[in-house]
């Protein structure tokens, strides 16, 4: 019953979409509007105007800074949403850690999360952890020059945290998640945009502005790095906290 309706609906939407994509400028055509209008300006002037060799970072943080501010707010919203739904249901990491074994259906295998962890995996994760962290730091701090950036690095950090949580057991991670520092870390991305944006407003007269005059190039680079670090910390903290809370529920 449901399948024919679904197939009909999907076809109904797919046919116009195919017609529409056939009407777009040819794929990879350098004379398409995508390449001749706004992007052409970015490619021609971007590196010098925005202060980032990696134009993606330049566009994301400088030209379209408000988008990036919205982006980090979206993921912060996800964290707040997950916490608002899970807290108070007796399934927070704190409460399960304290009331373990009481009436918990699978209290016994709390330590191993998704699957039992083999010693080899455990060893490799622990061995690689510092190198992954180092790589993440490189991706974050060098993101305005080479591929990468705050969010990618933050995601790598969060992935490292999750891998460690699986190997060491989530309980070992609780002290990290429960500090008074946690809300600061989780809000770091949004707050760094507010701070850098305000500093920019004082320096350039525009919210989220970056000074472009040559004497202030160092300031501009510092502000961009500050944003990258803020995004990385915020992103990593948010993703890791979401994982911990879903894991404990």
């Amino acid at each position: 019953m449901r399948r024919p309706i679904a197939i009909a609906l999907v076809l109904l939407s797919a046919i116009p979409l195919v017609v529409a994509v056939a009407g777009l400028p040819a794929h990879g055509d350098p004379s398409a509007p995508v390449h001749t209008h706004v992007s052409a300006h970015y490619i021609e002037r971007g590196a010098e105007e925005a202060g980032a060799t990696n134009l993606v970072t330049g566009v994301l943080l400088n030209y379209r800074g408000l988008d990036a501010a919205g982006e980090v707010t979206v993921i912060f919203t996800a964290l707040i949403a997950v916490l608002a739904i899970l807290l108070g249901t007796g399934t927070t990491p704190e409460s399960t850690a304290s009331s373990r074994g009481a009436s918990d259906r699978r209290g016994a295998d709390r330590e191993s999360t998704v699957a039992p962890v083999s010693p080899i995996v455990s060893f490799v994760v622990r061995l690689l952890a510092p190198f992954i962290a180092l790589y993440a730091a490189y991706v974050i701090l060098h993101g305005h020059v080479t591929p990468g950036g705050g969010f990618q690095g933050g995601a790598i950090l969060a992935g490292l945290f999750i891998a460690l949580a699986m190997v060491l057991g989530t309980r070992a991670m609780q002290p990290v998640a429960r500090t008074a520092l946690a809300p600061w870390l989780q809000g770091a991305a949004v707050l760094s945009f507010v701070v850098v944006g305000t500093v920019g407003a004082f320096l350039t007269g525009f919210f989220l502005g970056f000074p472009a005059e040559p004497p202030l190039h160092l300031v501009r680079e510092l502000l961009i790095i500050a944003l990258e670090v803020g995004i990385a910390i915020g992103g990593a903290a948010v993703l890791a906290t979401i994982f911990l809370h879903m894991e404990a529920s």
């Binding site: 116009p16 979409l17 009407g23 509007p33 992007s39 970015y42 979206v74 809300p183 919210f207 989220l208």
Partner: protein, 499 residues
């Protein structure tokens, strides 16, 4: 004072920053989140007041974050329709104040959930404000996601039995519609190479080559925003979500969040009317019919609801039908009526949901038969409820009258008398279900002791309800002001149609 340019950046960033700081404020003092949220919204309201004053005095204006000229950076653009931020701030402020007491009665609402509840409200309000003031398509999508994600979570936060189900249904339909909007933005970007709404309009107008992608993008945007606005047949998520949410959240969701779908439609119209690529008569007709069906169906379902909140939720569908129909009429009267109804229905529906929330808070019941006779026990709240009820029917001199009158005028202006009759018929149906409510509350004997013993709610809940109710009356008397305020915006929107 209002000429200071940074108000526009502040009105967007303040609620978001406030939300990020709410959990930190809770760390310092567990009871601070509501007051912190109120302070944030107070400041945001100040900024919003300045912006509305400025647009009244000078017409639309822009702010360029980062100082990049329009197509290269994101542009914030405040026009007459953006003035909805005033209502967002007002209702948001009232809902937060109302919540400070109300949330104590929620099941599962442990105190450690409270900072996240207020942070979500602030994010929701901030997302709506950003959505209303941005002049950039992709930025529109980002703010749409902030307000949608926080909206889904706010539905579930109350801990009602079906709350999570309702939230998931809302999330699934909302997420699909967001993907459609993003797809449409991709098409528009692929055709024009730009994301700024004004620039997209201009370049789409000068387009050479096939127009099929633009047409499909229009269809995707329309489906996406109509889903967000809960128009038949994409309304199915709304009743459960708005009924299961805590009452102050329902006031925000029903009064404001669905309206942002309509604002999205207005932005879409702006692009396509402005570009003049093709005649939009077909889309307008589809919208008028869907609006008409929503009006009648929403009102009909509302009549048969026992649960007061479900009844209000269905009445929202009916009223969004009015707004969408007004937009579809594409006449000056119709669109003015629709735009003002965005503001007025927000006030009215917030009044109703807060009043009902107050009643539920005191009695613990939410069906008409259980609540018999509550009008005598809680006189002030019930007066507010009645004012909301007569406003939503559209009886003069309340806020609902003028805009519905204008939409009806628009229907006749557009030579669509049939829709004019649907509008009047819808008003009659709405009258029936509010009569049912007033009858149950005032003229029936109570069957529960809790109802007879119910006292008036505390000031923090009574004040928002009464203020909003009196605004329903004031906006009815001063109804001309919003109409003249919005008129230049509507004239500019419809100018390319050459009428």
């Amino acid at each position: 004072m209002y000429a200071w340019p940074h108000w526009l950046a502040l009105v967007v960033m303040t609620p978001l920053a406030g939300a990020a700081l709410t959990p930190i404020a809770a760390l310092l003092d567990r009871r601070s989140p509501p007051w912190w949220a109120l302070a944030t919204m107070t400041f945001t309201s100040l900024a919003a007041t300045m912006l509305v004053l400025r647009v009244f005095a000078e017409g639309p204006f822009s702010y360029l974050p980062g100082g990049w000229a329009a197509p290269y950076g994101v542009e914030l653009r405040f026009d007459e329709f953006s003035a909805v931020v005033g209502v967002i701030c007002l209702i948001g402020w009232m809902a937060i104040l109302f919540s400070s007491r109300y949330t104590r009665s929620l099941p599962e609402f442990a105190s450690d959930r409270s900072p996240y509840y207020y942070a979500l409200l602030l994010l929701n309000l901030g997302g709506m404000i950003g959505f209303a003031v941005t002049g950039d398509l992709f930025n529109l999508f980002v703010f749409l996601e902030i307000l949608s994600l926080s909206g889904y979570a706010l539905v579930a936060v109350g801990g009602e039995r079906i709350a999570e189900m309702a939230a998931f249904k809302y999330l699934l339909m909302g997420a699909v519609s967001s993907v459609l909007v993003l797809f449409a933005i991709g098409f528009l970007y692929g055709m024009t190479g730009t994301l700024n709404i004004a620039d997209v309009t201009a370049r789409l107008g000068a387009l050479e080559g096939p127009t099929a992608p633009a047409a499909v993008a229009l269809a995707l945007l329309a489906v996406g925003f109509v889903t967000k606005a809960a128009i038949f047949p994409l309304h199915v998520w709304l009743p459960d979500a708005h009924a299961a949410a805590p009452s102050p959240v329902s006031a925000v969701l029903s009064g404001l969040v669905v309206k942002l779908g309509v604002i999205g439609m207005i932005r879409t119209y702006r692009i396509y009317y402005g570009a003049g690529l093709f005649d939009l008569t077909v889309l307008n007709h589809v919208l008028m019919w869907l609006g008409a069906i929503s009006i009648v169906m929403g009102a009909f379902f509302a009549i048969f609801q026992e649960d007061v909140k479900l009844m209000l939720a269905y009445s929202t569908i009916s009223n969004i039908g009015y707004i969408i129909m007004g937009l579809g009429l594409a006449t000056t009267y119709g669109v003015i009526g629709a735009s003002v109804h965005i503001f007025n229905h927000a006030l009215i529906k917030a009044t109703l949901f807060l009043a009902v929330g107050a009643i539920i808070y005191r009695t613990g019941y939410r069906t008409l038969s259980d609540l018999r006779g509550v009008g005598r026990a809680m006189p002030l709240t019930s007066v507010a409820l009645s004012i909301g009820a007569i406003s939503i029917v559209g009886i003069p001199p309340t806020a609902g009258f003028l805009c519905k009158w204008y939409i009806t005028l628009g229907a006749f202006e557009a030579n669509q008398p049939l829709f004019g009759f649907v509008l009047v018929f819808g008003a009659l149906l709405i009258f029936v279900y509010y009569i049912r409510m007033v009858n149950a509350f005032y003229f029936r004997e109570p069957i529960h002791a809790e109802v007879t013993e119910a006292r008036e709610v505390p000031v923090s809940m009574l004040l928002p309800t009464l203020v909003l109710a009196s605004l329903c009356l004031i906006m009815g008397v001063l109804g001309r002001i919003p109409l003249t305020f919005i008129e230049p915006g509507v004239v500019r929107l419809l100018a390319p149609l050459g009428g």
